[in-house]
């Protein structure tokens, strides 16, 4: 499961004092790293359920301290700060999450007679797979497209938050914002000295 790092030794935070970062970048990153928000909007059960779902969507077995995803979704729901639009067949942001989480849990109970968070990893994957493919049985999906909830809410939100974290940047060799310092070797396979170096 754990593969050798693709960009060995790369630490994007080493750019902290270099021309690649400016005060805005530093402030945003410091907030992202140090100010992980507490639970405010989700119920404890919903929080545990969402945490269990995120652990299957983006497993991080190699990390002692996983990249936090659930706290930032809670913060988003607490602020009711969505993307500025919603699909016409989907409820508003908060309603969609509350209903969707409840439906996922109900789906787990129907398939395995236990709450989602209490299932083992394979059973959890089976539940999520069924939802992703639209093979749902729970009446709680009424007015909420299960596949769209999985792709558009669960998966995209989790991936967006995961890859906003510097640890994930190290994983994929991302250099952070190209501001103030951008790139000068713009051709294919061009690598600037301040860019991550991929393992051969």
């Amino acid at each position: 499961m754990t593969q050798p790092p693709r960009f060995p030794g790369y630490d994007v935070l080493a750019k902290w004092d270099s021309p690649s970062f400016d005060d805005v970048t530093r402030d945003v990153l410091a907030h992202r790293l140090d100010a992980v928000p507490p639970r405010r909007w989700l119920t404890p059960d919903e929080w545990d359920l969402l945490d269990a779902i995120n652990a299957r969507l983006l497993p991080q077995p190699e990390r002692d301290r996983p990249v936090p995803i659930t706290p930032w979704i809670d913060a988003m729901l607490h602020d009711d700060r969505g993307e500025g639009y919603r699909h016409p067949d989907m409820p508003p942001l908060r309603d969609a999450w509350r209903q969707g989480l409840a439906a996922v849990d109900d789906e787990a109970r129907r398939l395995h007679d236990r709450p989602f968070a209490g299932l083992d990893a394979d059973a959890q994957d089976a539940v999520l797979q069924a939802i992703a493919e639209g093979r749902t049985a729970s009446p709680r999906w009424q007015g909420l497209d299960a596949r769209r909830f999985f792709i558009h809410h669960l998966l995209k939100t989790a991936a967006g938050l995961y890859y906003a974290h510097p640890l994930a940047w190290n994983e994929i060799g991302f250099g952070g914002p190209a501001n103030p310092r951008g790139y000068v070797r713009l051709g294919f396979d061009g690598r600037d000295p301040w860019e991550a170096k991929e393992a051969p």
Binding site: G9, Y10, D11, V12, A14, K15, D17, S18, P19, S20, D22, G175, N179, P180, R181, G182, Y183, V184, R185, G190, R191, D192, P193, W194, E195, A196, K197
Partner: protein
């Protein structure tokens, strides 16, 4: 430790960049130095079988050795006598300075741009090496006669092995420049779209290797000029060099036009290098034609303006770098992606060559001297 540390640019490249910029500035200062005209102790020598104009110069050179003691040398035209020895030595020195400055510009520019290209092709080191050698040789050529206080005018055209060898660095520069032109053309053509404006803007620049070849040609010409050869490539040397400098100025201006157009002429000063040098080039081209001298004062003034254009241009380019995102603190990106700092001095170099050519032509035609 990581590739992202502040000292991220490779030390070699950084050193190279600093050294070449220093050399470019040094050469520039050198070029601005008034030519030393110390008393020229001319070793006794036989008059050489040159054209009459040349023989007269030599006679005057000999005369000048005694000029201080013996002021009324009836043979020398009064208006030209006192500074005749400089008539060949000064243009030769100017030509060496021009070659040195052009080589410094090519060296620093190709160092930066080929570093940006990550020396993808080992051949990309060639212009660095060649320009560095030309720079060193031309600086030596520019300094040696002055320091020894002796113009190397009393040797026949270089036919000795040493004479031929001394041309090797310049000939190599010509060859490297022409080869580079081929490589750069290939770089343009192999890109999607082939010969298109976008590729001329963003692919390898065609003018850069041409500048190296030009530095080589100027260096090659300096030696026979210093030796007093009346012709170059079958033309009177003054006229030939006027044509060469005019061609170089026009080409450099075309390069500036291309890149300043790419830069949308977003600063009014960007029009200067596409307006003044072409006019100068036309005037110089006129001076390359046989016949009337034309408006030499104007040509000379324009050439002086072009000389300063290089310095001024570097200033504007430095300001352009400062205006890029992150300014000079972000030099590791902006020196490469911003306006090229080493490019403008090529105007100074070619203007120096032009002034040398004009002075040479004046001397050869026996025109009245003017301050050059």
């Amino acid at each position: 430790m990581s590739a992202a540390a502040p000292a991220d640019a490779r030390p070699l490249a950084r050193g190279l960049g600093a050294a070449t910029l220093g050399l470019a500035l040094g050469a520039l200062l050198l070029a601005r130095r008034p030519a030393t005209r110390g008393p020229a102790p001319v070793p006794p020598s036989l008059p050489l079988p040159h054209r009459p104009a040349r023989a007269e110069t030599n006679a005057n050179a000999n005369a000048n050795a005694n000029a201080n003691a013996d002021a009324d040398d009836g043979m020398a035209a009064p208006r030209t006598a006192p500074s005749e020895p400089a008539d060949a030595a000064l243009p030769a020195r100017r030509l060496y300075q021009a070659a040195a400055l052009l080589a410094a510009s090519v060296l620093s520019d190709s160092a930066l741009e080929h570093y940006r290209g990550d020396f993808e092709n080992p051949g990309m080191f060639a212009p660095l090496a060649s320009a560095a050698v030309v720079l060193a040789c031309a600086l030596r050529g520019a300094w040696t006669p002055a320091r020894r206080g002796r113009a190397p005018t009393h040797r026949p055209a270089p036919r000795t092995s040493a004479g031929i060898l001394s041309g090797v660095p310049y000939a190599t520069a010509c060859a490297v420049g022409v080869a580079g032109l081929g490589f750069h053309a290939y770089n343009v053509l192999r890109r999607p779209g082939g010969l298109s404006w976008a590729n001329l803007f963003y692919a390898a620049p065609l003018g850069a290797p041409a500048a190296l070849a030009l530095a080589g040609v100027i260096g090659l010409a300096a030696r026979p000029v210093a030796a007093g050869a009346p012709t170059l490539a079958g033309l009177p040397s003054g006229r030939a060099l006027c044509g060469l400098a005019a061609f170089g100025l026009a080409g450099t201006s075309a390069e500036a036009a291309l890149l300043h157009f790419r830069g949308a002429f977003q600063h009014p000063a960007m029009w200067v290098p596409v307006s003044v040098p072409p006019v100068t080039a036309v005037m110089l081209a006129g001076a390359a034609l046989p016949g009337a001298p034309g408006r030499r004062r104007l040509t000379n003034a324009l050439l002086r303006a072009c000389t300063w254009l290089g310095v001024l241009g570097m200033g504007f380019h430095a300001r352009g770098i400062a205006r890029q995102m992150g300014g000079w603190r972000n030099w590791s990106q902006n020196v490469l992606a911003g306006p090229p700092l080493p490019a403008p001095p090529s105007f100074s170099a070619l203007a120096l060559a032009g002034r040398a050519a004009l002075a040479l032509r004046a001397a050869q035609e026996g025109w009245p001297r003017e301050a050059t």
